[in-house]
Every structure is written in structure tokens, then in C-alpha cells.
Symmetry: C2
DNA sequence: CAGTATCCTTTACGATACTG
DNA sequence: CAGTATCGTAAAGGATACTG
């Protein structure tokens, strides 16, 4: 992303994090790994309903950022397992906080949205 | 977004929230409002380095979701103030948790990334 | 000042086909 | 099984010009 202007420090940092895991898939992959500990490629694919391409790209980025660990076994056919690193685990906790908020307040958002739409109905 | 397959409840909720405020600007706007309480349109624009178009769209969505309040005064030229609602304030707290994580661990991500790149340097 | 309208570019993502 | 490569589409977002 580009320059964020006069934002405070924390703002820039959040921005950096969001630039990295701000896409929907990264977070969903981490949530999946958080609950299941270790998962294989196609297991994740089926679980999330993600395409091979996006899962491949997403996992590579998460690995690059030190959030997930990739372990390949030299079997035929190949076996590859993914799991959260300690860093990834710690971030997943943070996501969990947001998840709890979501579960608690999503209905309120829906209500607000419905009312807004009702008010602005042409 | 589309079907998330066999994700647990929390996963779907998180996904819903991310679909709403998952873009970079929504979160940055909320952070700005969190710190400053009340801000006017152009004040936010200058503060964030966002384009008029994106700020306008972002604020409307946040208002629609019940996260920010918009108050227009019938002055000439017009004065419009934005602030977080209680719901928005509560969500901003959640963002704050992520912000703290970011401040604490961003350097680790950078290290991991640098090392990954070094290992995979052709 | 606080927007809206239009255009255009970039990015994200899916679909599909192929491979060690 | 676990990917990569290629292609096409749709959405996000910036630049610019205009308005009550």
C-alpha cells in the first residue's frame, strides 16, 4: 500500500499487517489451522472451499511471513503438512478476539444495515 | 463472498465481518476516529491520505453498518462531523488488540520474510 | 466544505489444464 | 497428492472534473 500520511505509529503497523494478511483467505486459513493443529493441502482446500491456486499462493505468503510451517514428506504421492508457527499461533489468538466480537455483535450490524437501507429506500 | 464450505460458526462470522470492514480504509478510518473522537470529512481525508471517493464510500458503509455516526450542520459551506458509535467504539477496541500485536511482532514477520527470501534466492 | 460522476488501471480471484 | 501455468473476469481503488 502507499503512504498513509499523518497516521500515528500504531496505525502504520496495523496497515503493514493488513497489507500482509488483509485478504480473506489468509485469515481463514489461519483459523482452520488454529482449530485443527495440522492439515494437509487438499484437506485445507476441501475445508475452506478455496481454489488450488489461491490456497497455494496464500500458504506460500503465510510461510514467508513466518506464520505457518510447511513440512513435506518424500512419499509417493507427496504428503505436505501445514501448521501454525508460534508466531502464527499468537496472531491467531488476536484473530480469535475479533471472532468473538463478530459472534457477539454481527446481529447489531445487520440490524443497523437493515434500518439504514429502510431509511434510504427510494 | 461465497460459501465458505465446512468452516465452523466463528469462521463464518469472522468472514462476514471481514467482508464488511476487511478493506484497509475502513479500519484506518476507525482508528483515526478512535483517537480523535470527532473529525470532519476533509480532516479525515488529509489525515489518512485517502482520496475523496474512497473516503466517501468508506464512511457511507461504516455509517450503514452502524459503526460511525454522521452529523451534518446546515452551515455554508457545509460542516459534517463523523464519530464512532458505541458499536464502532467497541469494534475499535478489538482492532486495538490487533494493533498491539502488530507493534509487538511486525519485526518478527519482517525477519521471517527476509530469511525466506534469502533461502529462496535463485 | 463535502461530496458525486466518470474514466481508467491495477489487483484479486476463479476456472481450467497440466506435472513431478 | 500437491502443486504450477495460463487465461479471463470482476472488483478495488486512484485521478480528475464537476456541484450544491
Amino acid at each position: 500500500m502507499k503512504d498513509v500520511g499523518h497516521c500515528p505509529l500504531q496505525c502504520e503497523k496495523i496497515n503493514s499487517v493488513l497489507s500482509r494478511i488483509g485478504d480473506r483467505w489468509s485469515i481463514l486459513v489461519m483459523i482452520a489451522l488454529k482449530g485443527r493443529q495440522v492439515m494437509r493441502f487438499n484437506e485445507l482446500k476441501r475445508h475452506l472451499g478455496i481454489t488450488q491456486r489461491m490456497l497455494s499462493l496464500t500458504l506460500r505468503e503465510l510461510e514467508r511471513d513466518g506464520l505457518v510451517n510447511r513440512t513435506a514428506y518424500a512419499t509417493v504421492p507427496p504428503t505436505v503438512e501445514y501448521e501454525l508457527t508460534d508466531l502464527g499461533q499468537s496472531f491467531a489468538e488476536t484473530i480469535g478476539v475479533m471472532g468473538e466480537w463478530a459472534v457477539e455483535h454481527l446481529a447489531e450490524i445487520d440490524r443497523a444495515r437493515a434500518e439504514y437501507d429502510r431509511r434510504n429506500a427510494a
